[in-house]
């Protein structure tokens, strides 16, 4: 099962190496990892999606807590959260497919961010399934290039 962990860490050089090294050394599987600054410039937030059963995830959390640079680990998996990924896709386009592509982009509430003679670049955000579905829809037209972020997540406000 995939778990989403929010890991609040020191914003120092080498912190990413400590965290990723821990995962590598103990053979935990990182599905995705996103790092960003927080509103506090001395801290960074890592959103880590990791695969494992409950016992493995408990170990991951405990081992992360042992790193001196880690302030807080929150398992968002069973929380009520909003999570998003972002993908930028350059898809091959011909005059006869252009309308259909734009229609699909519209359905997925994507945005065309660049237009060339042979390709069209689309930005799409959403949860993992939505992004995957969109990519699948674009495949038939031919994907020239694709970049995709890891998951970021935030807890929903109460009430």
């Amino acid at each position: 099962m995939l778990h989403t962990l929010a890991v609040l860490v020191e914003n120092n050089p080498g912190v990413l190496a400590r965290v990723s090294g821990l995962f590598a050394r103990r053979a935990y599987n990182i599905d995705s990892l996103t790092v960003c600054q927080t509103e506090n410039p001395t801290l960074s937030l890592m959103t880590i999606v990791v695969e494992g059963d409950t016992q493995v995830i408990q170990q991951v959390i405990k081992q992360l807590h042992k790193l001196v640079v880690v302030h807080k680990v929150t398992n968002l998996t069973n929380e009520s959260i909003v999570d998003r990924e972002l993908a930028l896709i350059r898809v091959k386009v011909r005059p006869e497919t252009r309308a259909e592509i734009l229609q699909i982009v519209d359905i997925f509430r994507g945005r065309v961010v660049d237009l060339g003679r042979q390709t069209l670049s689309v930005e799409v955000t959403g949860d993992e399934q939505k992004i995957t579905a969109f990519i699948r829809a674009m495949k038939s037209f031919g994907i020239a290039e694709l970049v995709r972020t890891g998951r970021i997540a935030i807890v929903r406000s109460e009430g």
């Binding site: 020191e10 080498g14 190496a17 400590r18 090294g21 821990l22 050394r25 016992q55 408990q58 170990q59 405990k62 081992q63 807590h65 042992k66 001196v68 640079v69 880690v70 302030h71």
Partner: protein
Amino acid sequence: MQHVSSPSSQISISQTSCLQTFTENDAIDPPQQKADSPQHSYNGAKCVFRILEEQGVEVIFGYPGGAVLPLYDALRDSSIRHVLPRHEQAAVHAADAYARASGKVGVCLGTSGPGAANLVTGIANAYMDSIPLVAITGQVPTHLLGSDCFQEVDITGITMPITKHSYLVKDVKDLPRIMREAFHIARTGRPGPVLIDIPRDVQAAPLPTPENENKEVSIKSYRFFSKGNAGQIEEAAKALMKSHKPLIYAGGGIITSGAADILAQLVDTLHLPIVTTLMGIGSIPSNHTNYLGMVGMHGTVTANFAVTDCDLLLAVGVRFDDRVTSGLHHHFATNATIIHIDIDPAEIGKVIVPDIPIVGDARLVLEDLLTKVVQEAGPSNLKPKASGLEPLTSNPAPQQSRLQPPTSHLQPWWQIIRTWQQDHPLCYENPTLLNPQHVLEAMVKVGGPNTIVVTDVGQHQMWAAQLYQVQRARQFITSAGLGTMGFGLPASIGAQLACPDKTVFLVTGDGSLQMTIQELATTVQNKLPVKIILMNNGVLGMVRQLQSFFHEERFSQIQLKSNPDFVKIADAYGIKGFRVHTPEDMEPILRQALAEPGPVLMDCLISPDETVWPMVPPGKAIHEMMLGE
């Protein structure tokens, strides 16, 4: 630098003001040679030694080099004793054993590049056994970092998986804080090694003389547990009182937390049987009648049977290592309710998910547990009994007669245990030739509670663990988790420096000793009267034993054919050497060795066919042991 680029308008400035300008400039950007010069005022290097002194450090083990010149200059003005081994690996092992013997933080120092890299094995060794250690390394100057310059190695990167924490000091202003944090992290919670990498220019950089410093350490993201959860402890006490076949499984955490006396009280009060891990040796006196011996791969039959048969396992300061569980945790203590007490939450559930987990310091948790147990039983029913200590080397006598309520329900369990002990004592083959058991028996006879036994790694280590009569915590020093051959001799140096009034025995083998044999010089230079007992069989005995059983005696690369004459080697270093051929010689030679004021090497010739029994073969559960004849 403005004054240099100033236009000709400055020509009119008087000479004095010119000088002033240069002085100001010095303060902004001090030229390298001035900061490196011996006459410097307070700087990073001096700060390092001031804080080492502040932290109570008396001895450090180090090796100089280009990137630690400012530190070695500052050392001359420090009260700290510096011991110079012949290899950095020995510096870190000695610091490690110093910590094990004294309970204080061990400190070692090495230069950049190869100096730092030579510390790696020893840092890993300390990490595996949770030993408090601060390793200080020199680093190339900050402006050369990352340029692959001479003697540069990314030591914080290399040691990331084997340190509790590490620092690369880029600004001298951070140095005092980092030094204090390093000691705090190394010694608190589950102890471990901390590395501080200090570039040479940071060592030489000036610092304002400290006034009204804040010496408090506050690391927001670093927490550790001390007291255990009261509810869990109560549950553990109830389970313990209900159990008919309880067993204590004690490890290095007992020694780290200073819990040996409270553990003995618990053992005596409830008349509980106890086994220890290799790291746990010394947490209960070896001659305590309730001690069943070491558990695991080379544990006693009784200890291993007891784990398999018990209905409650009180695991304290242990980590269910594969040398204990045989890597088959589904076959380990399967009949038992498992209580796991450990200060490191990550150890709980890592290998075995316990029924009652308790996170906390072993000493504090056991104190609370004992209080609860006494409450549960009612104070009149439980008076701590006389200690179960028996005279050395006596056979454990059945104790059933001593049992009274409420521990009388353990009588059947003790009967089973005593039968195992009678049926499967530790025994030896070939009594006419000198064998390891003779050596250790003689050591027990001439040694006493005032000895420290340091071992290397291999067969001799297991024999020492099985047979030496250890009376107290910190008396038995061994490389357990990492199993580092070559640990012994440098470790004996560290132990002797930590405990100058004690007799330090080093039990080693011809394989292990030759990995760090150059340290004989260090024992002489520092007048350390270590008594070296070399079990010399001319082979890598443990590997030979494994090849013999599991590779049909297809021996491969285990012959140490061109061993030197170790007595001559000792002589060359100015050390008294003896050769021991027969069982009868052992004790008199040991007594002679003890009478010598300096270090002594005893070359004890034993057969390569000697085997460590019992042995749990790979892939078998711990009660499925191979036994000797």
